[in-house]
Point group: C2
């Protein structure tokens, strides 16, 4: 019998308790031992919960209980969760978490601490909800040198963009729809500004390239500036707009970015809609492989947490533990040095004249024309690939042109 | 330093040697130890191979070498591979294989033998080539009760069907194209008759449902009877034809089938084209999750083999080992009892009259009409869902009708 304790009885935490109970038989068969939730830590009261008698407000009842060998941390954030995780390791307890913020922030320290304590720190649920990605990346693809990861890692923003595309909604209306359907929180900042996606690509990159990638070094833009007009341009370009997280190994550095991007309809990620997530990984032996599923939700995420618990039980804490080497320099390429193509929309009343000016600044570009009255007073084009620094300078020059009445939007174009 | 030996220096075996050498640095970093190929067993001579000095014809040089702890079996088949695998276990050596035939045939015995010998028997590469599916299914989704698996598990047939659909080729011409491109063997029987797919779904089902599913009990049909005319019908139905492996847990039994099937263009598997494979797994916590990638090829398959080797090195042979319980009865539902819908094409010179006859036999059906001269002397329809036994009886009655000049084809329709 393996006793576990759950810290934080929120959506994921209560989901973990539910899954452990619901699939008790098959879990014990797979793990080789019965697994039971002995204690739940939460500062709130849950008098009506079926688990009420397991809930305690006193962490000592968990940490000083030697019969509890695995801690599930579903508190979130980097405050109490951080302290409790360290305390668990000191007490020789394994920790399983869904807390991407904590892993992205203190991953190197916590992995090292776990290793030194002879216990595991697993976090399959921190990226992609229930989609198996952390273990496949770290174990199944271990024979590969990973060259790139590109993914849709946030269900909320993908739902919003899908609504904008399919229903012709604007951003605000699509966000409201996401909130009404429970796909976005009252304060949606972390999702719509790309912060959530940023932490996830930082974690995946750290695993893929075997060195810590600090999320603070990753250039991150959200989707709040995407308009339904941009969606219409993407449509005529045979493309869609997605919030894309991408990272690539470039010599001994790492390129990583989170931003909306225009991708071709033939791109494997183009058909990933609504709250689904997908991650495309390229390795030097396997080629491309893609993982797809629900990136969030109570039971999918809980299922990933419990899988980590089962893994620990099956291997009873054995095995070599990887740590994330933390470089003493910024190993992420500065965004200004990275190469991309830009889709640019500018307001103008003189389409003809401005075309030549654009060509003189940007060299060869591809003009995109929407033959509708509401697009009459603007011009749009896709640039060739060059560094972001170079492109920004050119955009600045464009802004100064008399014929240009402002830049309406700039969106990166991903792919060749 | 971990020494491994590779049995069989064919496509996959030589790929394993190549990957181990090519990614030596990153592999040893992930495994925590250097991994080296010490010996290769093959009865053939390879004087020009870069690995020539490692190759031996004498298995004793491998099995009696205590410094070799892991055997990679890439011989294939159930003859020598079976004997060598057992011998390895007796010698306390772990075995990693890509041999789906051996795993599907002797899985229960070999897993039990491995467990009793305290070693591992891993076979990630046996299904889906490089796509991580065995470990995700057995570990990452361990918290779920798996309700169904549906997949495209054979790249050769998927390439042929894609050619037929996109290029309007007939089966023979598409097969020839597959052979010319190296996607089909000179004797393509195992692929085109569905045998390869059958063994793979048997392995996945055995893992998913925690009991041995004998491939011999799985109803299997290949794609040789699919015509380009069938493809045209699928097209107007908003669907595609794929070689589909499906298995479902139905109470305490298992439904499993391999056959061509008509699936909607909106089905997640519909866009899986050419030599790609994809597997959609449904669990009671995670919902649907899909794995996608190249299902075959030298380096992708080798990458899966080497990942298993790394896993063994990392866990240094520890961990609880699952075995496949072998029921003393047939745990697979007889195909005649399973429910499906049928697409039926019959030759007739009297479309009007025969319609009423069809309705009188099948009850409500959906007629599919192709408005082209070459389809004038036939009638096609999709039945409602009922048991295969029931549907076959109805088709037999239809055949007897005076107005029917023969059944042109019958294809299952998958999905609601």
């Amino acid at each position: 019998m393996i006793n576990i304790a759950v810290l934080g009885y929120g959506v994921v935490g209560s989901g973990v308790v539910e899954v452990v109970k619901k699939n008790e038989m098959s879990i014990s068969k797979k793990a080789g031992e019965k697994i039971a939730v002995k204690r739940i830590l939460d500062i709130r009261d849950f008098p009506d919960s079926p688990d009420a008698e397991l809930i305690t407000k006193n962490p000592d009842e968990i940490f000083n209980d030697d019969s509890i060998s695995i801690i599930v941390e579903t508190i979130g954030g980097i405050g109490a969760a951080y302290e409790f995780t360290k305390r668990a390791f000191q007490k020789g307890k394994h920790v399983v978490t869904s807390n991407k913020e904590l892993v992205a922030t203190y991953g190197p320290e916590l992995l090292k601490l776990a290793k030194d304590s002879g216990v595991n720190y697993l976090f399959e649920a921190s990226v992609g909800g229930g989609i198996p990605i952390i273990r496949p990346l770290s174990e199944c693809l271990a024979a590969n040198e990973i060259s790139s990861i590109i993914g849709i890692l946030n269900g909320t923003t993908n739902y919003i963009l899908t609504q904008m595309k399919k229903e012709g909604r604007d951003f605000a209306s699509a966000l409201k729809s996401a909130q009404q359907n429970g796909y976005a929180e009252a304060d949606p900042t972390a999702d719509i500004e790309g912060h959530d996606t940023c932490r996830k690509i930082a974690i995946l990159s750290s695993i893929a390239y075997n060195e810590f990638v600090d999320y603070k070094n990753i250039h991150t833009e959200g989707i709040t500036k995407i308009t339904k007009e941009d969606m219409q341009y993407a449509e005529v370009m045979g493309s869609v707009i997605k919030l894309i997280a991408v990272s690539r190994k470039v010599n001994d550095k790492i390129f990583a970015r989170v931003s909306p991007a225009i991708i071709s309809k033939f791109h494997p990620l183009a058909n990933v809609e609504d709250v689904f997530n997908a991650i495309l990984v390229s390795g030097n032996a396997i080629g491309d492989v893609m993982f797809y599923g629900r990136g969030a939700g109570k039971l999918p995420t809980a299922s990933a947490v419990v899988a980590d618990v089962i893994d620990i039980v099956k291997h009873t804490g054995n095995g070599r533990r990887n740590v994330w080497e933390k470089k003493d320099y910024n190993n992420v390429i500065d965004i200004s040095e990275s190469e991309t193509r830009y889709f640019v929309r500018a307001a103008t009343e003189n389409g003809k004249e401005v075309k030549n000016h654009i060509l003189s600044i940007f060299g060869n570009v591809e003009f995109i024309k929407l033959e509708r009255p509401e697009f009459e007073d603007e011009i749009a084009f896709v640039t060739m690939k060059s560094t972001e620094k170079d492109l920004s300078a050119k955009v600045s020059r464009l802004k100064e042109a008399d014929t240009i009445n402002g830049i309406k939007n700039i969106i990166r174009v991903e792919g060749e």
